[in-house]
């Protein structure tokens, strides 16, 4: 492939669109889209793809375009596939098994008859409230094919920037769009770019653009999905940013736990280089830029900007104080602009559609103040005790209720909603009374939580708030780099108190002690990890104080999670005597005869919960 010039893009777009168009006469009459993100693959999408490939090979007359896409978003219903027959509405099939493929192929693809049993009902609300900007190519492109990306207007924003805009104009556009950092902090991207450019210009120095793909928050996988499904949108965003800032070298720092994303990214980078979209003289202009990939090695703190840059330099990822900003002295002490995956992926759309289009979506007013509102959309991974777990993109300002109950379909198993946790370990828990809170940077911060990178974990009545707070503190305790005392020792002390409370040894004054520790940590920790670490504890105390008090005063865990604070019992009226629990009990604590109610020997029971999860009759209760 020769290196592209600006005018070649339109030709490739036209050619590729023509190639993949469904028509009677053309090469393809049917399109089958298989979603191959990590979620899909883990659920068995690989064998679904093989089954379709076998069918396509044995039916060349069907003229099927088999498209290998990234994440389909609806994780709970993976593996998914979409079938579009010429002249018919596309149909999404869910929960597929390899044996279903033959039926779908023979009925739908060959005869045009939709297989109702496996289809996602058109009235399903999961996709309805969503607004795709970052996930705009979901189900449309093969992430391993750059021409697919170009066919859907890929790299046109880059061409526009290189041919008709000055770096200053690009920065002004991004500033006017009100785009704020999607990694959690919510710092206006345009302001960051401008400062970085200025610092470089003043000192006549090389500057770097960096993409933070070290998505460490447990329960969050937005960035992984974007890279797996649409890596070129991130690359294009980075090149545009580099042009605006005046950088010639970029880095992607990606966590090693994401092998599929890494593979797609490397393929995309190689293709971009081959097509002349990276390297010397991009699109035939005199602008040159390239991107290098570094794998993280399992350290949560490396998502912090200074720690990430230390890690890029080949050192331990330990943060430093930030009174000197990284936009002035960052990687190798040069001006460095770090944005996360989702932020970069927004950039091409903003350039193509314009800032005024972007600001129509979202809340607040950013005309004079880039912090004045939250514009655009946000991608969330909706997980935990919710029916429709999945990856969603919603306009800023949507309420938590709409996300959890309309898109998420509510709580499964007839249980009651209790809490939603946003912002990962640095965020907080929000109670039912705040369900109508609009989701934007400022409202969430005000409520004591934060937007964070986009993990949204729902808890039901079986979720113990003290246990959850302990979970996050334990996570942070393990991940604290140990450089500064407030974070290192504060987390240790907090964990000790929470551990005591969950063991029924809580004392009066514990909550006040937690509060004191939180204040010190917030005010005096070196980096955001320590400063925001107390959030899960503070919000759970603020909104669920009675649950802490039940643990401390009554030595009870109302949710039945903390093993020392409940007993397992079998309700004789509900027990059918099926013996399943007795068979699986690892300590033989359950005795009883067939078809007669069983009983649990509390001295032998280790509360492993095996019986609780096995009982089909709800006969095992925690009291």
């Amino acid at each position: 492939m020769r290196r592209l010039k600006v005018e070649d893009l339109a030709q490739i777009k036209k050619k590729r669109r023509e190639e993949i168009k469904l028509s009677q006469a053309g090469p393809f009459r049917v399109r089958v889209v298989v979603h191959l993100g990590t979620c899909g693959l883990s659920a068995g999408a690989g064998s679904i793809l093989e089954a379709f490939e076998a069918q396509v090979a044995s039916h060349p007359e069907a003229k099927v375009h088999l498209l290998k896409c990234g994440c389909g978003g609806f994780c709970a219903r993976e593996p998914m596939a979409q079938v579009e027959v010429l002249g018919m509405e596309p149909v999404t099939y869910v929960d597929l098994k390899p044996k279903d493929v033959k039926t779908i192929f023979e009925e739908h693809v060959l005869k045009g008859k939709v297989v109702e049993a496996k289809r996602l009902p058109p009235e399903e609300s999961f996709f309805r409230r969503q607004h795709f900007i970052v996930l705009r190519h979901r189900g449309l492109i093969d992430p391993e094919n750059i021409e697919d990306y170009i066919a859907y207007d890929g790299y046109t924003a880059l061409a526009k920037v290189l041919t008709s805009m000055t770096p200053e104009q690009v920065i002004a556009e991004v500033k006017a769009s009100g785009l704020r950092g999607r990694g959690g902090g919510g710092f206006p991207a345009g302001v960051k770019w401008e400062t970085c450019r200025q610092a470089g210009e003043e000192r006549h120095e090389e500057r770097y653009v960096i993409c933070n793909a070290d998505e460490g928050d447990p329960g969050a996988y937005m960035d992984r999905s974007v890279i797996e499904s649409d890596p070129h949108s991130v690359i294009e965003g980075m090149i545009i940013g580099a042009y605006a800032i005046g950088s010639h070298q970029g880095y992607v720092y990606i966590r090693k736990e994401y092998p599929v994303a890494l593979e797609k990214l490397n393929i995309a980078l190689a293709q971009a280089r081959e097509y002349g979209l990276l390297g010397e003289n991009i699109l035939g202009t005199d602008f040159s830029f390239d991107i290098e990939v570094h794998r993280g090695a399992g350290a949560f703190v490396c998502g912090e900007s200074t720690a990430l840059m230390a890690s890029l330099e080949g050192r331990a990822g330990i943060p430093r104080a930030k009174y000197i900003h990284t936009v002035e002295y960052g990687l190798w002490n040069k001006p460095s602009c770090l944005n996360n995956v989702e932020t970069w992926a927004n950039v091409p759309v903003i350039i193509n559609q314009g800032a005024s289009w972007f600001t129509q979506i979202g809340t607040g007013d950013v005309t004079n103040n880039p912090w004045g509102g939250s514009k655009g959309t946000k991608v969330f991974s909706l997980t935990g005790k919710v029916k429709n777990t999945g990856l969603i993109e919603v306009p800023m300002g949507i309420t938590l209720r709409e996300i959890i109950f309309d898109i998420g379909g509510g709580i499964p198993g007839g249980k009651k909603f209790k809490t939603v946790q946003t912002g990962g370990p640095s965020g907080g828990f929000l109670p039912e009374s705040l369900l109508d809170l609009p989701v934007d940077f400022d409202s969430l911060t005000e409520a004591g939580s934060m937007m964070g990178s986009g993990g949204m974990i729902v808890g039901d009545e079986d979720t113990c708030m003290v246990d959850m707070a302990k979970y996050f503190i334990n996570f942070l305790l393990e991940e604290s780099c140990g450089k500064c005392v407030p974070c290192r020792e504060g987390l240790r002390s907090m964990h000790a108190i929470l551990e005591r409370i969950t063991k029924g040894q809580g004392r009066e004054g514990d909550l006040e002690a937690l509060d004191d520790l939180a204040r010190v940590m917030t005010q005096s920790s070196l980096c955001a990890l320590g400063q925001s670490a107390p959030n899960p504890v503070l919000t759970s105390i603020r909104y669920f104080r009675e649950e802490y008090e039940a643990h401390i005063r009554d030595h009870k865990c109302p949710a039945g999670v903390c093993p020392d604070l409940y007993e397992m019992t079998i309700v004789p009226e509900l027990c059918s005597g099926c013996m399943v629990c007795a068979r699986y009990c690892p300590t033989q604590a359950i005795s009883g005869e067939k078809k007669k109610p069983h009983r649990i020997d509390r001295n032998k029971c280790i509360k492993c919960n095996v019986c609780y999860s096995l009982c089909k009759f709800g006969a095992i209760k925690k009291t």
Partner: protein, 170 residues
């Protein structure tokens, strides 16, 4: 232990002997040996012309690295929030009983290592465990023995497989 110089040089060659790729280099060593053997680290330091302590700083900081040999089968329990909410602790308990080792330990025969893993990002399948490259989604504590039994019998699979349990019922 004897370390082949060619092997070390091949890894360093791949990363162009660049010091800023140290983390990448160590990951390749870890993949090769399943831990970071001391002679290799010392040799690396010599080739890269950096002090050994700089390598140890990185080697002991990142979770992906181990200075101790690991078992043939690495059993990892995802410690992501979604898995936690959906009962990862119960599954962990069952694994500890089944393997007779605690989280973070390796058994005497160097057969199994039980480890926590940071969120794998397939939260829709929670709770998730992996044994080497095999993924088990929606695992239930009662299914753990059967899973481990397979590997005791030497049933390593050549390619990544996915097995769905009946658990994870919220």
């Amino acid at each position: 232990m004897e370390v082949k110089a060619e092997l070390i040089q091949a890894i360093l060659q791949k990363w162009q002997y660049r010091k800023d790729f140290l983390i990448e280099i160590l990951q390749d060593v870890q993949d090769e040996f399943h831990y970071l053997p001391q002679p290799v680290l010392v040799a690396m330091a010599r080739y890269l012309e950096i002090p050994v302590n700089q390598i140890y700083e990185a080697a002991t900081f990142y979770k992906a690295f181990s200075l101790e040999p690991k078992g043939k089968y690495q059993v990892s329990v995802c410690k992501g929030t979604a898995c936690h909410v959906r009962g990862a602790a119960t599954v962990q308990g069952a694994l500890e009983r089944e393997l007779g080792i605690k989280m973070g330990e390796t058994d005497k025969n160097l057969e199994f290592t039980l480890e926590p893993v940071r969120c794998l990002g397939c939260c829709g399948l929670a709770p998730v465990i992996t044994v080497n490259q095999d993924v088990y989604g929606k695992v239930e504590a009662s299914e753990v023995s059967k899973i481990i039994e397979k590997y005791r019998k030497g049933g390593e699979t050549a390619k990544t497989t996915v097995t769905m349990g009946k658990g994870g019922r919220p």
